[in-house]
């Protein structure tokens, strides 16, 4: 495994904090208000999938748990919603490493897409159950498809920033 030097680690930590704050701000903003429907992409799932899969910061179960609790307090419909999702994603990532020690780029992209899809599905199911005000102007399936697509798109944008932390 390629070891990151100290400077890159610092840059990646900064990037994580910036992306976290960005996710906090944008999670409260309905970017699709001009289309007259409420839609909030899962920025935190995109960020955590990137963090876990590319080791943006040194991840451990404790850290993921704490981040999950923080996100739950900020935007969760029940305490543990995002914590559970993030922990499952971490477990799956660790499990997948058993089979993809050095995955190719398409493989890693596919894995990330699957993680994003699973994360969005878990969060949506918990929201359906516990969020009393959960309301969607479209069917759940359509909502899920759009949510997964947009969240994956956000993940790609985050990844571009992540790749830039290595410099030229």
């Amino acid at each position: 495994m390629i070891k990151k030097n100290h400077e890159v680690k610092l840059r990646q930590r900064k990037l994580f904090i910036i992306l976290f704050l960005f996710s906090v701000f944008f999670s409260f903003i309905n970017l699709f208000s001009f289309l007259d429907f409420d839609f909030y992409p899962e920025y935190f799932i995109a960020l955590l999938v990137l963090t876990i899969s590319s080791n943006l910061i040194e991840v451990s179960i404790n850290k993921i748990f704490l981040i999950g609790i923080l996100v739950d307090i900020l935007i969760g419909s029940i305490l543990g919603q995002y914590t559970l999702t993030f922990l499952i994603l971490l477990g799956l990532q660790i499990f997948s490493q058993k089979y993809f020690v050095l995955p190719t780029k398409p493989q890693s992209m596919l894995l990330r897409f699957l993680f994003v899809s699973l994360g969005v599905i878990i969060v949506s199911i918990i929201s359906q159950k516990f969020s009393p005000n959960f309301y969607s102007s479209m069917s759940l399936l359509n909502q899920l498809i759009i949510d997964i697509g947009v969240t994956f798109f956000i993940l790609i944008i985050f990844q571009i920033f992540y790749e830039k932390t290595y410099g030229s």
Binding site: V24, F25, F26, S27, F28, I29, N30, S33, F34, I61, N62, F65, G68, I69, D72, I73, L74, G76, I78, L79, G80, Q81, T83, L84, L87, I88, L90, G91, I94, F95, Q97, K98, F130
Partner: protein
């Protein structure tokens, strides 16, 4: 010989990941979910941390409001631009209507004057005609009117308008007639000074009307007006011909008088032909 694989390497997760820890945290999460569902802790936590969370929420709202304001302002800008465009179109329409109205007012005034003129000249027969093209033909200024022999016009008939004498019909056709204007060199008319004393003959000179030999002994001043005398039996008496603008001595006995005609072919469109 088969390699001996350690138990650690065969485990489901990698070595630096504790499955026990993982299961513990998953369980803890479920406990948290259950407790929150049962006792609604999240609400209380959010209340306690409202200072922090409200900071994020208000910042997000500010960003959103900023974009909404921009959107609103662009929308209102666009609608105002559209309104301005509509108003400009309306202004153009009103301007055209105003021009038509002004034309109708002028036309109405002309008709009124022509009517007064025809009453003044009654019981003589009068014909109203419109000037179609004032033009120059062979050094002569010709005015073409839209009435001809078909309407009863004859050569030699005087043509007048509300301002005064316009000219004389020079040639007639079936539907049009040509008028020699006052300024034509071929034009001559018997005139009377407006004090009613002095008879003269006024000639056209392309640019001005002139009286070539006006006795020095007779008093005349700039601004004096000459009208038709009616002695020639061609023009009825009392029609304004022109105004004195220059008096220059021709010799010891005579002055040369220049007159500005009362009418100009560029100024009128409606004329009256008199059957005198």
């Amino acid at each position: 010989m088969a390699l001996k694989v350690s138990k650690k390497k065969l485990s489901l997760f990698t070595s630096n990941f504790s499955l026990t820890y993982f299961i513990f945290f998953i369980t803890l999460t479920f406990v948290l979910m259950f407790m929150d569902y049962r006792y609604d802790y999240l609400k209380q936590i959010r209340k306690d941390l409202s200072i922090v969370t409200s900071l994020f929420i208000s910042s997000s709202n500010n960003i959103m409001n900023f974009f909404e304001n921009i959107q609103d302002s662009t929308k209102s800008n666009a609608s105002l631009r559209d309104e301005i465009k509509q108003l400009n179109i309306k202004i153009d329409k009103l301007s055209i209507e105003n021009q038509i109205r002004n034309f109708l007012v002028a036309e109405n005034e002309n008709l009124r004057e022509a009517n007064i003129l025809s009453k003044k000249l009654s019981p003589k027969k009068t014909f109203f005609a419109e000037v179609t093209t004032p033009t120059i033909r062979g050094n002569k200024k010709i005015v073409v009117i839209n009435k001809g022999t078909k309407n009863g016009l004859r050569e030699g008939m005087p043509v007048v308008n509300k301002l005064g004498l316009v000219g004389q019909i020079f040639s007639t056709y079936e539907k049009t007639s040509e008028v020699i204007p006052l300024l034509s060199k071929k034009f001559a008319v018997n005139a009377l000074q407006n004090n009613g004393k002095n008879h003269v003959i006024i000639y056209g000179n392309n640019e001005f009307l002139e009286i070539p030999y006006f006795p020095v002994s007779i008093q005349i001043s700039i601004g004096d007006i000459f009208v038709t005398s009616g002695l020639d039996n061609v023009y009825p008496s009392g029609i304004k011909i022109g105004e004195v603008v220059e008096i220059s001595p021709e010799d010891k006995q005579f002055n040369k008088i220049k007159l500005k005609p009362s009418t100009s072919s560029n100024q009128f469109s409606l004329v009256t032909v008199i059957d005198y």
